[in-house]
């Protein structure tokens, strides 16, 4: 890996400012010290990467030729009006415009390009939110990542429509990808971001995606992470949020498919009165593995955080939830809630849940809850007594279970689509759909659900 770095150093650092190059060198050094995580480490006890890492991968250091973007990046959610930007195999797909500057001052496009064009702006934030000294994958990413997406919403600007970032892996070889995103939402600004991670064929891949997201004072961000990859893909995402005073964040992790998924979510309240709601739903089957690690740092007073992660695990799937809320000494009037609920459908599925509260202050309201079990027998009997068949009753309850999270999606078209996808997923219909990027259905094949759950 070091050899790879030194061999291609010139290529890798080509877009960097001198400060960033230094950052890379330091990160590489940290990574060499840390090494890949193993199951002896507390944070990785339940997620074993040995098998994923043992596969051979290509490490692309040079930009790959662009595919027909029209073909790859299309989203067929009806009436979902988004500004689509795409990433293919870790590289921003430019369509010859590597960086867009919109009239209202919003900048959107390739991070590599942004480093060249707005070095000061990028440098002000780059590497300041993510921790490259103690987290191996972040260090690795900081050392190697060359491109990714840069979004800048200036102060007082509201992004007129949601930005949809589609990250697609399509390659004939196994790929090891490092991509890096930087998203800055200025003071009083507003951004809605739909971030889709997708694989497009059955090739194995290992993605290490680090996103740094800075949300300015009094700003609002609505964030969606939609994960739908093939069963041989490994996806490690590290998303680090920094919230200014009175900033608020709504974040949704919707994990429907993937070989091994690990979401590291790090949130730091950088001023008082911040609000963060983080929701997660995961539906896993086969030998799929999902690991959500959520760390919330209540470093300032009067902040509110709420985590709600729910999962349904079938067959041999494994679900891991590790929540950590840290309330620092002076963070008075903190209100923090953590909840993880799981349903196991088989005796071979497994759940590990560790909702952890670390509190150094008495003027707080904190709670956590974790339940693991099956569908409520009383409710099953009640539904069946009303004439609803056992399968339908089960489906109804599972859907209701998931809908507590899905119902929080604020974009109606997206919510509708996710609900449809969940219905299909619950029926075991949805594996990887080749037809389109999101593996939703194609319009020609409308979603058929045995029970009509549509809201009347």
């Amino acid at each position: 890996m070091v050899q790879l770095f030194s061999r291609h150093r010139q290529q890798i650092v080509s877009c960097d400012t001198p400060g960033m190059s230094t950052l890379r060198d330091q990160a590489l050094e940290s990574f060499l010290k840390l090494g890949f995580p193993n199951t002896k480490m507390e944070a990785w006890r339940q997620t074993d990467l040995t098998e994923c890492l043992a596969r051979g991968y290509d490490y692309p250091v040079e930009r790959m030729p662009e595919e027909d973007t029209q073909k790859v990046f299309r989203c067929n959610i009806p009436h979902l009006d988004t500004a689509i930007i795409g990433q293919l195999n870790g590289w921003y797909v430019s369509k010859d415009v590597p960086l867009m500057e919109l009239g209202n001052g919003i900048i959107m496009g390739s991070l590599a390009e942004a480093k060249k064009k707005y070095p000061e702006l990028v440098e002000q934030y780059y590497g300041t939110v993510a921790d490259s000294t103690s987290e191996a994958f972040t260090a690795l990413n900081t050392a190697f990542a060359q491109d990714g997406v840069f979004i800048y919403v200036p102060d007082n600007v509201q992004s007129p429509k949601p930005v949809q970032l589609i990250n697609v892996i399509q390659h004939d070889e196994n790929l090891f990808l490092q991509s890096r995103n930087l998203i800055v939402v200025g003071k009083n600004a507003r951004l809605s971001l739909v971030h889709c991670d997708d694989s497009y064929n059955h090739q194995a891949s290992f993605s290490n995606i680090v996103s740094e997201i800075v949300i300015g004072d009094n700003a609002f961000m609505d964030h969606y992470k939609l994960q739908n990859l093939n069963n041989s893909s490994t996806l490690i995402t590290t998303t680090c949020f920094r919230l200014g005073a009175a900033a608020s964040l709504e974040s949704h992790y919707l994990s429907l498919n993937g070989g091994l998924l690990r979401n590291n979510i790090r949130l730091h309240f950088n001023g008082p009165h911040g609000i963060a709601n983080i929701y997660g739903i995961y539906l896993m089957d086969g030998k799929q593995h999902i690991d959500n690690q959520v760390f919330i740092d209540h470093a300032h007073p009067h902040c509110t955080s709420n985590e709600m992660f729910k999962g349904i695990l079938d067959e041999h799937a494994r679900g891991v939830f590790n929540g950590h809320v840290l309330v620092r000494k002076d963070a008075i009037k903190t209100d923090a809630r953590q909840s993880n609920r799981n349903i196991l459908l088989t005796d071979t599925a497994k759940v590990n849940s560790k909702p952890f509260l670390e509190i150094y202050n008495d003027d707080v309201k904190c709670s956590h809850g974790s339940t693991t079990g099956q569908l409520d027998n009383e409710a099953m009997f009640y539904l069946r007594q009303r004439g609803i068949g056992e399968d339908s009753a089960r489906m109804l309850l599972m859907f209701a279970f998931a809908d507590e999270v899905v119902g929080k999606i604020a974009i109606p078209q997206l919510r509708q689509r996710i609900e449809d996808m969940i219905k299909k997923r619950l029926q075991g219909e949805l594996q990887i759909c080749e037809a389109c990027v999101l593996h939703c259905s194609t319009p020609e094949q409308p979603v058929e659900f045995y029970i009509d759950l549509s809201k009347i």
Partner: protein, 482 residues
């Protein structure tokens, strides 16, 4: 009058440790430090059979290969094992056969602690084994219990008189390889209690052991073994105190419980080792491994603990629910004040079918203390239809303390239900105001509210203990608000 009442208030609110006295008794010590010779010395002193020495040496050799665990949320000053005396015993004049032969100083000590070894003045229905430093000085009621076939004696006596039972069960629940402090205990343990309830016997009295560290620079390493045969029942209580000293003293104990088919064992602890002074000088390091196994079907083990003492507490009374339909319970109140640190909780290992466990943990932190709950609930693949319910609450008094909750939940089958709930909050200002408005002072109000908060756990304690525990809770928190 006024000066009198001032004095009373002063006394009551000082919240000092009232068991901090030292008894002047002639004591014999093992040479300071730890090596194989120390172990041979202990084994020799106790005239142990060969299998015991062998067990100890194996444990010691294993211990040498281990490292002190650092995963707990505790900051522990390094322990120099060569500065500790591993065996201290009040000198015996001759073999004790009646109470008259117990050193009057010792009797006075236990009387001062509120424990009467005189069977005439006995606590009604409680048999006591009194352990001072490394040895058991007197066990009451032994003869009465013998009529039921119950063996209740010091561990040393058990080694002499019931070697087969000891051999069969010792280390069967907590093997010497289990952890660092268990290995240390297995190598150097000096005494403790042994209790055997034969098939079908419902033990008519509460059994209890009272542990007292008296001598300076010593560590206490006792070992308790409770075996309940098929259909047997016993309720067992344990209490602990130590003198006030400026250096930290180490207490590393092991408790093993075996419950066979239909047996039920209730184990209650009121732990009040010296916690150190307000600045964190001195106090006991309480590193204890307690574990019970529900071996047979329908067996039950219930742990209740009130932890108020010790500078550092590191203990996780656990249940291995092996038998089908077996039940494990853990009720805990842990209070930390001043500079105390506690990392305590439980493990519930569900292995058998239809096993049930309940965890109720109430943490109360005050002063600059750190109080952690750490619990594991594991439901294995074969433990179908199992249930766990955990409720872990933390109460914070003051802005300098910490309260942490680390539940580990692992479920591997679809028919089991595991629920965990926890809240952390400060003492309610409305409740305090309400009490104060009715003329109750702040300290008493806190005592009252905390006792109410801990009630769910306290009511699990045997009567004799519950009263003591309630007083202790209030006392431990005195001076915590200012």
């Amino acid at each position: 009058m006024e000066s009198d009442s001032n004095k009373i208030i002063d006394e009551v609110t000082r919240g000092d440790y009232k068991y901090g006295f030292v008894t002047e008794i002639e004591t014999e010590f093992a040479p300071i430090g730890l090596c194989e010779d120390t172990i041979r010395y202990i084994s020799d002193k106790k005239r142990e059979p060969g299998f015991m020495l062998e067990f100890r040496l194996k444990a010691y050799r294993h211990w040498l290969t281990m490292k002190q665990p650092d995963w707990a949320h505790l900051s522990i000053d390094p322990i120099n094992f060569q500065d500790i005396i591993f065996y201290a015993a009040p000198k015996k004049k001759k073999d004790l056969s009646s109470l008259d032969e117990v050193d009057p100083e010792l009797l006075a000590t236990f009387n001062k602690l509120g424990i009467s070894l005189d069977e005439q003045k006995k606590l009604s229905g409680v048999a006591v084994d009194a352990v001072i430093d490394s040895v058991s000085v007197k066990t009451t009621f032994t003869e009465t219990l013998a009529k039921y076939g119950i063996i209740f004696c010091s561990f040393s006596e058990a080694v002499q008189n019931h070697p087969d039972l000891v051999k069969q069960y010792m280390g069967s629940v907590v093997p010497y390889t289990d952890n660092y402090f268990a290995a240390l205990n297995s190598a150097v343990f000096s005494d403790g209690s042994f209790c055997f309830i034969p098939k079908g016997v419902h033990c008519p009295v509460e059994l209890s052991t009272y542990f007292r560290i008296n001598a300076a620079n010593t560590g206490q390493f006792e070992r308790t073994l409770i075996v309940a045969e098929e259909g047997a029942y016993v309720s067992y209580m344990e209490g602990c105190t130590a003198p006030q000293r400026d250096e930290n003293q180490l207490h590393a104990a092991i408790v093993e419980i075996v419950a066979m088919k239909d047996a039920s064992v209730k184990y209650s602890t009121v732990q009040n080792w010296y916690p150190g002074d307000k600045n964190g000088v001195g106090g006991i390091y309480n590193f204890v491994t307690k574990r019970g196994i529900c071996k047979g079907s329908n067996s039950k083990i219930s742990w209740t603990q009130v932890e108020t003492g010790s500078a550092i507490t590191w203990k996780y009374p656990s249940c291995i629910l092996m038998g089908d339909n077996s039940v494990g319970e853990f009720y805990s109140v842990a209070v930390t004040n001043n500079q105390q640190q506690a990392d305590t909780g439980t493990k519930m290992m569900h292995l058998g079918k239809n096993t049930k466990s309940t965890i109720v943990s109430k943490g109360i932190s005050a002063g600059k203390s750190q109080n952690s709950y750490r619990g594991l609930v594991r439901v294995s693949k074969n433990a179908t239809n199992s249930r766990n319910y955990s409720q872990c609450d933390s109460l914070l008094l003051g802005s300098l303390c910490g309260a942490h909750t680390w539940p580990y939940i692992q479920v591997e089958n679809k028919s089991s239900i595991v629920e965990h709930e926890a809240t952390t909050s400060k003492i309610s200002e409305d409740q305090l105001f309400y009490c104060q408005q009715r003329g109750i002072d702040m300290e008493s109000a806190i005592g009252l509210i905390v006792n109410g908060y801990a009630k769910e756990v306290l009511r699990q304690l045997p009567m004799e203990f519950a009263v003591e525990a309630q007083k202790l809770l209030s006392i431990s928190l005195e001076g915590s608000v200012g």
